[in-house]
């Protein structure tokens, strides 16, 4: 066992964490806005017409929430759902599709649907906030 406080992830662990990245981003955004608005999971669930357990699952990276439910939750929090170009992780080679998606996204013509996008994010509508890094 490594004695470092936060040992680096090995390849297998990195793969699992990368697979959870979209879920993690959405969960973090929802939780952050919910807490800032002073809502409990129960209150958010009620306002969005769903159960507290659905909100809990979402924030615990579990379950498969229906798109409509996620959309309602986002609306209660003053957010909207969007897809953003995937940002390559360390050691991952940026694909042509990703590069093209980034180019389209930055030119503001991101709705042509000709590229592959794998990241789902809940955004606050401020495009500058989730501009691709590097």
């Amino acid at each position: 066992m490594s004695y470092q406080l936060r040992p680096p992830l090995n390849e297998r662990e990195q793969k699992i964490v990368d697979g959870l990245r979209s879920r993690t981003n959405v969960a973090n955004r929802v939780a952050s806005y919910r807490i800032r608005l002073g809502l409990t999971q129960q209150e958010l669930g009620q306002r969005a017409g769903t159960k507290q357990s659905r909100v809990s699952e979402l924030e615990s990276l579990q379950g498969n929430l229906q798109f409509d439910t996620l959309d309602r939750i986002a609306r209660v929090l003053g957010l909207e759902i969007d897809l953003v170009p995937r940002v390559a992780t360390v050691g991952e080679v940026s694909t042509r599709a990703t590069a093209k998606a980034r180019a389209l996204f930055s030119s503001g013509d991101g709705d042509t649907g000709v590229y592959s996008i794998s990241a789902l994010s809940v955004t606050s509508g401020n495009r500058g906030e989730y501009e691709p890094i590097g």
Binding site: M1, Y3, E13, V17, S32, E59, S60, Q62
Partner: protein, 139 residues
């Protein structure tokens, strides 16, 4: 956004750190469950601290609180801690919860750990040094 909170793992005088060891064990048995803590619970706690509310920081009693999440591969997971000065959230124990209430054994352990943490002799840097030495020795 105000000042950030800091999560501190309590380290015993000899260098043993239950929470760190428990999280490492969780990471080896279920990366997914471990990631819920590191990727989801931790950022929220560092941002909102004690104001994050349940399930991030749910007060139990005697000044203690628990961080809750449901393991996908293991049962209900809990980390017990307390909020201290300088926006520190001190974590004492990690457990797979089997009882509906804060077990007396765990409570006593948390109380003794907290008493040590609040004593004047607890120095974070030197304890971290002890922890490294302890786990380096154990391999």
């Amino acid at each position: 956004m105000g000042q950030r909170w800091r999560l501190v793992y309590y380290i015993c005088p000899g260098g043993y750190c239950q929470v760190w060891e428990w999280l490492q064990d969780l990471r080896h048995t279920s990366v997914r469950d471990w990631h819920v803590f590191e990727g989801q619970r931790r950022p929220r706690l560092e941002e909102s601290g004690v104001f994050a509310g349940s399930p991030y920081w749910e007060r139990i009693d005697d000044g203690f609180a628990e961080i809750k999440w449901k393991g996908r591969d293991r049962g209900n997971l809990r980390v017990y801690g307390s909020a201290e000065s300088e926006r520190r959230l001190v974590l004492y124990l990690g457990r797979e919860k089997r009882w509906s209430r804060f077990a007396n054994k765990d409570r006593r352990l948390c109380e003794s750990y907290r008493a040590d943490f609040l004593s004047g002799s607890y120095d974070e840097q030197s304890r971290e040094f002890m922890r490294c030495a302890y786990y380096k020795k154990r391999g």
